[in-house]
């Protein structure tokens, strides 16, 4: 139900997350994001979520862990292209201002 695809560009790594990230699948998200960050120092990571239809609190937790590890490793960490549902989850957990947010993957890479 969750497809994760990582693309390493010259200046940034993009993690594209498609489908539903819930309790059945969010460890996949966690593994991908933390695994990637463990092999990064500096640079940046963009989690591209325009194809992410659902996230629950465990997926939010994975993103928070990603942000923390990124900060420790001096990697810039941002979210891009969130749909209304995932936005509502970030709003209801009051994390919307904690993450660097971009309307789209393109915007994120330009910023």
């Amino acid at each position: 139900m969750l497809r994760i695809d990582i693309e390493q560009l010259a200046e940034a790594a993009v993690v594209r997350v498609a489908g539903d990230a819930d309790m059945a699948s969010s460890t996949q998200l966690r593994d991908a994001v933390l695994g990637l960050l463990e092999n990064c120092s500096q640079g940046r990571v963009v989690v591209s979520m325009s194809e992410t239809s659902y996230i629950d609190s465990s997926a939010v937790a994975s993103l928070v862990e990603g942000l923390q590890l990124a900060t420790r490793r001096r990697v810039r960490f941002g979210l891009a292209g969130l749909r209304e549902g995932p936005l509502q989850v970030l709003r209801s957990t009051r994390l919307i201002d904690v993450f660097e947010m971009h309307d789209s993957e393109e915007d994120a890479l330009k910023a």
Partner: protein, 140 residues
């Protein structure tokens, strides 16, 4: 008049998606607007995930029943399970913006729903989540 929609699953996370679909369709069928339906779906998903994770300690074979009905101007969802007693309603809420991983499910449920009720009866847990159909605009 509106009836009830109930779904029974075993406690395997792979059925969460199905539960979300049922709850969404039920809310819309009971006359909820898209936004309210989404809120109920998010809250029920967290409550059922908690039953699987904590109530049943990850056992994927135990029964969970989710029943949706309209009660006047409310949508009511009852989540019923045979897991451990959940005295968690007395816990304090997550302080907003705190950067810890986990511990956000109950906070989401309380933020998204208008009323929460928990009962332990005959070795069963019943959690009632209620959402008003019409959001009353605060008078200014």
């Amino acid at each position: 008049m509106f009836g009830e929609v109930a779904v029974r699953i075993v406690s395997d996370p792979k059925w969460l998606r199905l539960v979300r679909g049922v709850v969404e369709q039920s809310c819309l069928g009971f006359g909820a607007r898209e936004e309210a339906a989404t809120a109920v779906v998010l809250a029920v998903n967290e409550a059922v995930s908690n039953v699987i994770r904590h109530g049943y300690d990850g056992d994927t074979t135990r029964p969970i029943r989710i029943a949706c009905r309209r009660d006047g101007e409310m949508i009511e969802v009852c989540i019923c399970d045979h897991g451990i007693e959940a005295e968690f309603l007395s816990r304090e809420l997550l302080p907003p913006d705190e950067l810890r991983a986990g511990g956000r499910g109950l906070y989401m449920i309380r933020t998204l729903m208008d009323e929460i009720e928990y009962r332990r009866e005959d070795g069963q847990n019943r959690m009632y989540l209620r959402k008003r159909l019409l959001q009353h605009v605060a008078e200014s």
